[in-house]
Symmetry: D3
Subunit: 322 residues, 6 copies
C-alpha cells in the first residue's frame, strides 16, 4: 500500500500499478458544456490528495455518487498524468469495511497527539468533578448525545487544533488549565467554570460535518457553532432540570466565549466565569498553535513557517540549557 505522496514520486513517464487506501474528501457534481454531468472526486490521505473525473457511464459512478464525504476506499489502478497533474486510472474501487477503519486512520488523517480513548476518559473524569449535580448531568447529556462527533471532530477547520480529535484535545487541555487556575481566582464559581469549559465549543460537533473530511454543515452555515452549542446545552439542561438561573449563566459562557463580537461572540463576557473561560480558551488556542508549529517544523530549522494565528513564524529552537 502506497501513500499518495509516494505515488507522486514514481516516474512520470511510465504507468505503474499501485494500491492505496484513501478517503473521499469532496465530491462535486459538475456540468460539462454538452450538459452531461460528471463527478469531480477528491481523494487523499494524510500525505496528499489527487482528483479523479468520473463520468456517468463509468462503473465507479454510482459508488462515488452515493458515498458521503469521509468514506474510505481501497483503490487499485495505474499511475498516469493529465495536463501534468497526477490523474491515475482506477481499475478497482471498494469501500473499506467499518470494522477496518481504525487500522487506517493514522495513515489517512492527522490526529491529536493524545489517543482518543485517553482524552475521552480524562474528559469523563472532569465531568465527574463538577460538584453541582444538575450541572454535571447537563454537561454529561449535552456531550453524551454528540459523543461520536465530539470525539473525532477537529478544534477548528484551520487555525488551532485543526486535526482529528482536536476539539476534544482542546477541551481537555482547557479543563486542565481551568483546574490549575481556579484556586487562584476564588471569585470564579468553580462548577460553572468547569462546566462552561467542557461545553464551550460543543456546537462545533454540529457545525462541522464529517470527521475524516471536515466541512461546515448546512446548519453550521445558517446558525453557527455558538448558537448550536447554546441549543444543545439548553436541551440537555431541560432533561437535567438545571435551575434557570444557572442555565442562564452557563449559556452566557457559550455565547460570549469567542471574546469579541467580530470573532463571532453573541455577547461580551459579563460574569466572572465567562471572562475566565474566554481567557483560558484564548490561552490554550494560542498554545495549541505553538505545539503544532513545534511538532511540524523540521528539526534543522530555527523558525517555523509563518503562523497566521500568531502573526509571526515561531522560534522552534530550544533556549540554551537554561
Amino acid at each position: 500500500m502506497n501513500t499518495v505522496s509516494e505515488l507522486k514520486q514514481l516516474p512520470k513517464d511510465q504507468k505503474t500499478p499501485f494500491e492505496a487506501v484513501v478517503v473521499l474528501r469532496k465530491s462535486q457534481i459538475k456540468k460539462a458544456r454538452n450538459d452531461s454531468e460528471f463527478l469531480m472526486v477528491e481523494l487523499g490521505d494524510k500525505s496528499g490528495i489527487f482528483h479523479v473525473v468520473c463520468f456517468g457511464n463509468s462503473t465507479h459512478y454510482p459508488l462515488f455518487l452515493n458515498a458521503r464525504e469521509g468514506t474510505i476506499f481501497r483503490v487499485q489502478g495505474t499511475t498516469d498524468y493529465y495536463q501534468n497533474r497526477f490523474s491515475p486510472a482506477l481499475s478497482n474501487i471498494e469501500k473499506v469495511h467499518e470494522s477496518e477503519i481504525t487500522r487506517y486512520l493514522d495513515h489517512l488523517v492527522e490526529c491529536a497527539p493524545i489517543p482518543i480513548d485517553e482524552l475521552w476518559k480524562e474528559l469523563q473524569a472532569f465531568i465527574g468533578q463538577i460538584g453541582n449535580d444538575a450541572l454535571m448531568e447537563t454537561v454529561s447529556h449535552a456531550i453524551g448525545d454528540l459523543e461520536s462527533s465530539f470525539k473525532t471532530f477537529p478544534g477548528a477547520i484551520s487555525m488551532h487544533h485543526a486535526y482529528r480529535a482536536g476539539l476534544m484535545e482542546h477541551t481537555v487541555r482547557m479543563a486542565r488549565a481551568c483546574i490549575a487556575l481556579l484556586p487562584l481566582y476564588p471569585e470564579v464559581d468553580p462548577d460553572l467554570a468547569l462546566a462552561g469549559t467542557l461545553i464551550h465549543d460543543l456546537g462545533k460537533a454540529l457545525e462541522y460535518t464529517g470527521d475524516l473530511a471536515t466541512t461546515k454543515s448546512a446548519l453550521g452555515h445558517l446558525h453557527g457553532h455558538v448558537v448550536l452549542g447554546y441549543r444543545q446545552v439548553r436541551r440537555a439542561a431541560l432533561k437535567a432540570s438545571l435551575p434557570e438561573a444557572l442555565l442562564d449563566r452557563l449559556e452566557h459562557i457559550i455565547l460570549s466565549h469567542q471574546g469579541e463580537l467580530e470573532w463571532g461572540a453573541a455577547t461580551k463576557a459579563a460574569t466572572p466565569e465567562a471572562v475566565f473561560v474566554s481567557m483560558v480558551d484564548n490561552l490554550d488556542a494560542k498554545m495549541g498553535m505553538v505545539q503544532y508549529a513545534l511538532r511540524s517544523t523540521p528539526a534543522n530549522q530555527d523558525f517555523s513557517e509563518f503562523v497566521p494565528g500568531l502573526g509571526a513564524p515561531l522560534l522552534v529552537k530550544s533556549p540554551p540549557a537554561s
Copy 2:
C-alpha cells in the same frame, strides 16, 4: 399640574409650591461615608428630569425603595435648589393608579407617531397574510406571548425608533416595505420573508425591561436580543409544529439580521430571505432616523443636530417646489 421643564423656569430664589406627575426612571442605592445607605431617585417626564435624595429615615423611603423603575407618581412639594441644581422638597407622594396611567402617557414619554392600537391591528393583518399556516401560527404565538412588551417597547435604546412603541412601529413599517418589494424579488420566499420581518427584532421584548423607563434586563446583558428572539421563536415553532427545515431558515433570519458580526449578528445572511430582511431592516432603521430628525428639528433651522446613525446632520428644509 406642571411639567418638569416649567418647574425649572420658576424663579430660583423663591420656593414655589407645585404638583407634578412623574415616572420613576432610576433608583440607586448609594452608601454615604458613614456607611448609612440612601436612595438617589431620578424622576421625570417627557420634558426633563430631576433627582431626589432620600435617606432611610424619610417617610418616602419605603415607597421609593419598593417601587420598580417605570412606576408613575403624583408628587407635591416646593421648588428648591441645592448646589445650583433643581432639588425640590417633596411633601407628598403617591402612586398613580393603574387605571389612570394612559391619561398621562403622552405627558410622560415620547411615543410613536402612530397610535398603538392602529399599529397592533396592522401587525395582526400582516400576520394573517402569511400563507403557510404553521409559519403564521409560529409568528402569532411568538409575538402573542410577549404582547404587552412588544406593543410598548422602543425599537432601540438610542439610535432608531427609540421611543414608546417604536419596536412595533419599526416592525410594521418594515412589513409594509416587505410587501411592496416582494413582487420585485421573486427569488425571495414571500411567506418566510414576511414572517422573518415580523419577528426579526422580537428578542428586544425580552432584552429590554420597563416600557416607561427602558433599560437592559439581566438576560438582555447575558444573552442579547438576537439569541433571545431565536429562543422565543423556537418555542413558538414547537407549539405550531413548524417543519424543522422552515424553522432553520426562519431562525437564520433572526440570527443574521444585524448584518455584520460586529453589530451583533450571529452569522452572515446566507439565504435570499435573510439578505432581503436584513437590507429592508437597514433601510427602515435609517429612514426612521430621518423621520425623527424631521419632526424634532425646530421649523426655522435648515439642518438638524448631528445624527449619529447617519454620520451627519440632516438637511430638513424641503427642496424647492420640485
Copy 3:
C-alpha cells in the same frame, strides 16, 4: 464554430483544426530580453480565455497592435500546447464586421438576464415619470449623452451586476424598488429620489472603458465614478436650466450614494432623498449578488461558492413548499 472551453477539451496530443469567434480582451506590449518587442494577446469568449504571443515579424502583428480591446475576431488555426498551456497556432484572423456583432454577443460575453432593449424602454418610462420638467430633462440629457456606454456597461467590474448591461439592469431594478417604496416614505421627495436613482451610478459609463472587455479608463483612475457622474449631471443640468437648489440636492445624491467614505462616498448622505437612494442601492446590489449566485450554481448543490459581497456562500436550495 467552437467555444474556447470545447477547444480545451480536445485531445492534447494531436493538433486539431478549428474556427472560433473571440473578443480581444487585453493586449500588452512586452519587451523580450533581447529588447525586441512582442504582443501578449488575450482572446476569449464567455466560456474561457487563451493567450497568443505575437512577434513583430508575424503577419498578425499589425492587426493586433492596432485593434482596441473589445474588438471581435474570427480566427482559424490548429490546437497546440506550450508548457502545458493551450497555445493554438492561428493561421487566419479577421475582424468581425460591426453589422454581425450582435449575433455573437451571447456567445462572447455574459449578459444581463433581461434584454437590453426592454431595459432601455423601461428606463425611458421611468425618466418620463419624473414630474419636475427640468429634473426630467437633466436626467434625460445626462443619460442620453452616454447612451451607448450606459446601455452596455456592467454594474461593477466585480462584486454585483458584473456583466454586460448590468449597469442598466441595476438602475432599472432600483427604479422599480424606488417606485414601490416611495408611497411608504412621504418625507422623501419622489421626483428627486427617482432622478437620483436613475443617475446615481451614471459615472460608471465614464469610469469604465470597453463594453466587451471592461477595464478602468484613465479618468476612471484619476477621478472615479462618483466625481465623473457629478460632472456629467452638472453639465446636463446647465442645459436643462435646473434651479441651483435642486441641482445641489441631486448632486448630493450622487456624491453620497456609496454610503461610507471608505467605500468611495464623497460625503455622508444628509437629505431624506440621499439616505433613501443610498439604502435602496445597497438593497438592490446585495439582491443582485443573490440573483447571480442562484443562477450560476449547479442545480445539484445546496450552497453556492463563497460570495465575497455577502461574506458567505448562499443557500440556493428553495425552502420546502412553504
Copy 4:
C-alpha cells in the same frame, strides 16, 4: 473696553457696568414650552464667550434676529449671573461699523502668526512662479474669485491651522516646502505640483462660512470641500483655456490630496504630482500642529496638552544647547 475673560473675574455678587466689543458667534431660534420663540445668542471675543437669551418683546430682538453670524457688536450693560453662569444684562447694543472692524480683529479672534497682507503677497508671488501660462491663469482665477474667503478662512475647523487666515498660511507654507523639495524629485512636474499645492484646499473657502465665526455652509455639508474645490478649479480652467489633459491631472491632485478615502479623498493619489502634494500636505499639517502647540503652551511646562492630531502631548522644551 473689557475682555470677556476680565468681565468674568469681576466680583460675582455685585452688578458692575461694562462695555465690550464682541462677535456674534451663534444665534439659534428656540421654542419655549408655551410655544413663544426666543433667541439664544452666543457672543464672545478671543478670551471667552457668554450667552444672552433674547425674547421677542426685547428691543434687541430684531437686531440679533437679522444679524449674520460673525457680526461685531459694541455692547454696554451690567454684569449678572443666572444659575451661576455669567449672564450680563445688556442695556445698549450697536453694530460696529465695517470701517472699524480691523481695529478689533486681534481682540476678537485668534489669527495666523503672519500678517494676512504678507501671506497674500507671497501667495501671489508663488502663482507667478507657475511656468505654464494656462495653469497660472487657472490658479489665479480660481483663487481670485474667492479672494476674501480664501484670505481669512481657517485651515480647518479644528485639527490644524484652525484660526483666522490659517487656510492661506497653510497654503503658503506648503508652497514654500514644495519649492524647496522640487529639485530633489525631478520626476514631479513642477508647474503642476505648485499649482496643485496652491489650490488643493481651495474648496474650504466654499465649505466654510463666516470668517469670524466659522461653521460649515449648506454646500459644505452636501458636497464637501474636495468636490467644491474641484468645481471651482474646473470653472477657472475653462476661462483660462487649460488643456483637458492638464486639467485632469490638476483636478486629480485636489481629489486625492486627503490621502485616504476614509479621510475624504475621492480617489487615491495616482500621479507623481498627486503623491507629492498629498505628502507635503500631510507634513505641513502636522508641523502646523507642532507650531501651534509650541506657541500656546505656557513657558513653564515641559509638555503641551494632548494634541489629537499627533496622538500625543508635545515636548515643548527645547533640547539642550545642541
Copy 5:
C-alpha cells in the same frame, strides 16, 4: 481630621473651620490676563479633590511652588465656595514628615487588597524559584534597582490594577498563574517564562512618576514602558553576565507582551515563552478588572458600572448555591 468628601457635605452657606491631610496631586503654573503668574493647585485624598488658587504674594506660594507632586500636607482653614465650587481658604499648611506618611496612606489613596510587604516577600520567593542563576540574578538586579517604584506604582493609569501597588500585585498574581500552568505546557521553558513574567511590566516603574499621584514621566512619553523595561533588563543582564542567547529571548518577552502592535507591542510574540507570558498577562489583567468591579460595586446592585476593558457591565451577583 476630615475627609474631603465630608468637607463638601458641610453646610454651604457657613464657613466651617477644618483640618485635613491631603496629597498634592497636580500643580500648574498659569498666567493671568495681566501676565502675573499664579499656581492652580489640586489637593485631595481617596474620597475626593479640590482646587486652590495661589498667587505670588501668598505666604503659601513658595511652599507649593517647590513641592513635588505627591507631597503630603496637613492643612487648616475654613470651608468656602467660589462660583459654587468648594474653594476653602487655607490658613495654615505644613508638609507631613516622612516618618508619618505610612499612617496616612490608607486615608489618601486606594491600595492593592494585599499588603505591600506580603507582595514583596512573595515576589522575592518567585525570583528564588528561577533555576538558572544568571537569569535569577538578572531579574533580581532589574527589579531591585527600581525597588521603591516597583513596590508602589499602579499596574496602569486606568484600565486594570490602577491603584497603589497594583503593578506588584499584578506581577505576583501572574507569577502564581504561571507556576500553576507551567506543568501543563512543557514546551515552555519554565525559567524563562517565570523570569519574563516577573519583569514583563517593569518598565512601568520608569514610565510612571509619583507613587501617590501617578502621571507619565518625560521618558514615559518619549520611550514608553516596553522600551524602558527592555533597557532596564539589558543593564541588569550585563551585570549578571546573562548569556546573549538567553537575554535575546528574555527581552523578546518584554517587547512582545502587549500582544498586538497597536496596543504597544514592539513585535509579535514568536517564542513559546513569549506567547505564554502574553496570554497569562491578558488573563490576569482581565481578571483584575473583574476583581475590582466585584469589590467596588454596592452590595445591592446586580451589575457593576460599564467596565471599559471588558466592554460590558459585570454581573456581580453570585450564582445560586451552585
Copy 6:
C-alpha cells in the same frame, strides 16, 4: 554566460548545455517520506530563479549545505524539465571568488540607481554637517560599526526601496529633503533632525541578513528594527559621551519614526524633530515607490501595475509639455 530568463526560453524538448552565475537565495532542509533528508536549493539572478533538489549522496550536497544564503556560484549543466518546471541538471558547481563578486552584482541583483560609493560619500558629508560634535560622533560610530550591511541592504523587504543599497539611498534622499526643509521649520532643531534622519532606519542593518538574498535575521524577528536601531545608537552614544538629554530625544526619533503603533512605532512622535523626521520618512518612502514604478513600467504603457503602498496603479505618462 546566460541569464536564467534566457535559459528558460531555450527549447524545452532538448537538453542544452549552459553556464551561469547565480546567487544562492534560499536553502531548506526537507525530509522525504522515507525520512532521508534532502536540500531544496533556490538559485537565481536578477532575471529569474529556479530550484534544484540535492540529495545527501550528491557530490554537491556538502557545498550547498555549508554555503550561506547570498553565496555566489558559477554553475555548469544542461537544461531539463521536471513536471514541466525548469529543473536543470548541474554537472559542475564552484563558488565565485570574493574578488570577482562585484563584476557580477549587476547581473545578479537589482541595485539602487545611484552608485554605492557616491551614496556613501554623500552620507559621510551629511554626517559632517551635524553641528553638535557628540551627536555627529554618535551617528558616525553607529553607522560606521555596521558599514558593510548599511551600505548594501535594501530599504525594505518589499514596499519601498526594496533593492540592494536601497537603505542607504533612502537615507541619503531623506537627508537631502531634511536639509532643504529645515530653513522652513525653525522650530525643529537641525542637528537632532539631521542625526535622527541618518540613523532612523539603521536597525534594518541588523534586522535583515544577507545583502544578496535578504531575509529577516533571528534578532530581526525577536526584536524588530526599531529596537535594534535604538540599541545600536545607545551603544554609540556611550562611546561618544552624548549627554543623556540629547540621547533621549535622538532615541525617541528612532522609536517613533514609523508613525503609527500598528506600523511598528514604539511611541507616537512627541517632539518637533520626531514629527518632522517621521513625515519626511513617509514622503520619501512614497516617492521611492513612485520612482520605482516609473523606471520599471514599459515605455508603452500609461499606467504601472497596481502599487500596494500607493493603493493604486501610477500614471507614468508625463503630462503634456507643461
